[in-house]
C-alpha cells in the first residue's frame, strides 16, 4: 500500500477560464489505480476530497500563470506522454473487454470495416477476427502492440485528425478515450470526427468514465468536480529504482468525468442519432449513427 497524490483541477472547464492561474486541490488517498486495495478514498461529507490547497506551479507544474498551455499541449503532457511511458505496464493490465463493447463487436457481420479510435494496446482487436478494424492511437508504443492483433491494423493518429476516409466505415468504437480531451468543444469534435467516418448504416459505440460512481474505489458522485487528474502508479522494478530507492513511479492523467446525459447531449449537438445508451460499471456508453 502506498500514499498517492490526487490532483484536481477546479471548474469551470480549463480553457474557458481565461487561462488565469488555476487552483488545484490536492489530497491524498490510499489504494488508487495500479495498486488496488479495498479501501475507499477519504471523502468529506460534501463529496470533495480536499485537504489542502496548493497552487499548481508549486505542486505539479501543470500550468503556471505566465505560460499557460493550450488544450493540445495540456493533453500532450497529461495524457499522451503518460500513456507513452506506461505503455507496456498499462498493456499488461488491460486485458478484459467491457461486456457492452464485446457484444457490440460480436454483433457485426463478417467483413465489416471499422475503426477503433484510441485503440491503445488493441484490447478490442482480439474480440472479433472476422471484421477488419483500423485502430488508431497517439502512442507509438501502444500502436506497436496493437498492430500485432491479426487480421487488424493500427496506425498512429490524432483523434481529432483521423486519416480514415469519410463514409467508408460500417462501425466505430472509441472506448475510454474521449474523456481525455480537455474542453467541451474538443470532446464534441471527437464525436463528429467519428460520425464523419461512418457510412449511412454505420454505428458507433462510445464509452466514457462516469461522474456518478460512488460505489467505486474513487467514490466520485454527482456534484463533484468533473475535470480531474487521476494517478497511475507503475512499479519501476528493482533494476530502475527512483533516486530515493523507492520502486514506484506515479503518473497523473487528465480525465473529464461525464455526468448523466452529457454524452448523449454531445452526440446530438454534432448531429448524431442516438440508438441506445446506458451505464456500465462506472462508465456511460452510447451507440449512435449519422
Amino acid at each position: 500500500m502506498s500514499t498517492i497524490d490526487v490532483v484536481e483541477v477546479q471548474p469551470p472547464a480549463l480553457w474557458e477560464a481565461k487561462r488565469t492561474k488555476q487552483r488545484t486541490v490536492v489530497w491524498q488517498e490510499f489504494g488508487l489505480l495500479g495498486i488496488f486495495t479495498d479501501q475507499k478514498p477519504k471523502i468529506k461529507q460534501d463529496g470533495i476530497c480536499s485537504q489542502q490547497l496548493l497552487s499548481t506551479t508549486e505542486k505539479s507544474g501543470v500550468m503556471d500563470s505566465v505560460g499557460v498551455p493550450g488544450p493540445e499541449e495540456y493533453e500532450e503532457q497529461h495524457v499522451h506522454e503518460v500513456y507513452e511511458q506506461i505503455a507496456s505496464h498499462f498493456s499488461s493490465t488491460r486485458y478484459k473487454p467491457w461486456p457492452i463493447v464485446e457484444s457490440f463487436l460480436q454483433s457485426l457481420v463478417p467483413g465489416a470495416i471499422g475503426l477503433d479510435v484510441g485503440c491503445g494496446n488493441g484490447k478490442y482487436l482480439t474480440v472479433n477476427r472476422e471484421v477488419f478494424i483500423v485502430g488508431s492511437d497517439r502512442s507509438t508504443n501502444l500502436v506497436k502492440i496493437a498492430s500485432q492483433h491479426q487480421p487488424h491494423a493500427a496506425i498512429v493518429a490524432d483523434t481529432l485528425s483521423l486519416p480514415h476516409q469519410a463514409g467508408r466505415f460500417d462501425f466505430a468504437i472509441s472506448i475510454a478515450v474521449v474523456h481525455h480531451l480537455s474542453t467541451p468543444e474538443r470532446r464534441k469534435e471527437a464525436v463528429q470526427e467519428i460520425l464523419r467516418c461512418l457510412n449511412a448504416e454505420g454505428k458507433a459505440l462510445l464509452y466514457v468514465w462516469a461522474l456518478e460512481q460512488k460505489t467505486s474505489r474513487r467514490g466520485w458522485d454527482e456534484g463533484h468536480e468533473q475535470d480531474v487528474m487521476v494517478p497511475w502508479v507503475m512499479k519501476t522494478g528493482k533494476k530502475n529504482p527512483n533516486e530515493d530507492g523507492s520502486m514506484e513511479k506515479t503518473f497523473q492523467r487528465y480525465y473529464h468525468l461525464y455526468r448523466s446525459g452529457e454524452l448523449e447531449a454531445d452526440i446530438a449537438a454534432v448531429g448524431g442519432k442516438l440508438i441506445d445508451s446506458g451505464y456500465e460499471k462506472d462508465n456511460w456508453w452510447a451507440i449512435f449513427q449519422r
Binding site: 472476422e130 496506425i155 498512429v156 490524432d158 486519416p163
Partner: protein, 127 residues
C-alpha cells in the same frame, strides 16, 4: 502497414479530406514485407464489396504488383478461382509496408512508415 489499410485511409489534413486527389495516398520509397496469415474466406469475401477497387488497383500498380482484374471479382468468381483468392489474400492481408512513406497528391505531405507503423500525426502548421 497492411495494404488493405491503405484502401481506407486518406490525408489527415482537414482541407484535403474532401478532395479526390488525396485518395489513395501514394507509397514512396517503400520496403515491402510479407507475413504468413491463415486465409479466412468469410472475411475476404465480405471485404471485397467494401473495397474501393480503383484505389486498390492504383496502389497495387504503384507498388509493382501485376495487374488486378479491372473490377472487383464477385464471391462466386473468387470461389471458383483459387489462385485469385490466394493472390488477393496475399496482396491485401499479408503484404505490409515496413519502411517508407505515403504521400498526399493534394497537399504533398508525406507520412512516414517506420517498423511497419504509419504515423499520421500532423505538424502544427497543418492541424
Amino acid at each position: 502497414m497492411k495494404l488493405l489499410t491503405l484502401n481506407f485511409l486518406t490525408c489527415a489534413v482537414k482541407s484535403c479530406k474532401s478532395t479526390s486527389a488525396s485518395f489513395p495516398l501514394h507509397p514512396k520509397d517503400c520496403e515491402l514485407v510479407s507475413d504468413t496469415l491463415k486465409s479466412d474466406p468469410k472475411l475476404l469475401f465480405n471485404i471485397l464489396p467494401r473495397l474501393d477497387w480503383s484505389a486498390l488497383s492504383t496502389t497495387a500498380s504503384e507498388l509493382g504488383f501485376p495487374g488486378l482484374p479491372p473490377s472487383a471479382p464477385t464471391k462466386e468468381e473468387l470461389e471458383a478461382n483459387e489462385k485469385l483468392f490466394h493472390d488477393l489474400h496475399t496482396l491485401l492481408l499479408e503484404t505490409h509496408i515496413s519502411e517508407g512513406s505515403l504521400v498526399c497528391a493534394n497537399c504533398g505531405h508525406s507520412y512516414k512508415i517506420k517498423e511497419g507503423i504509419a504515423n499520421f500525426l500532423l505538424p502544427n502548421h497543418l492541424v
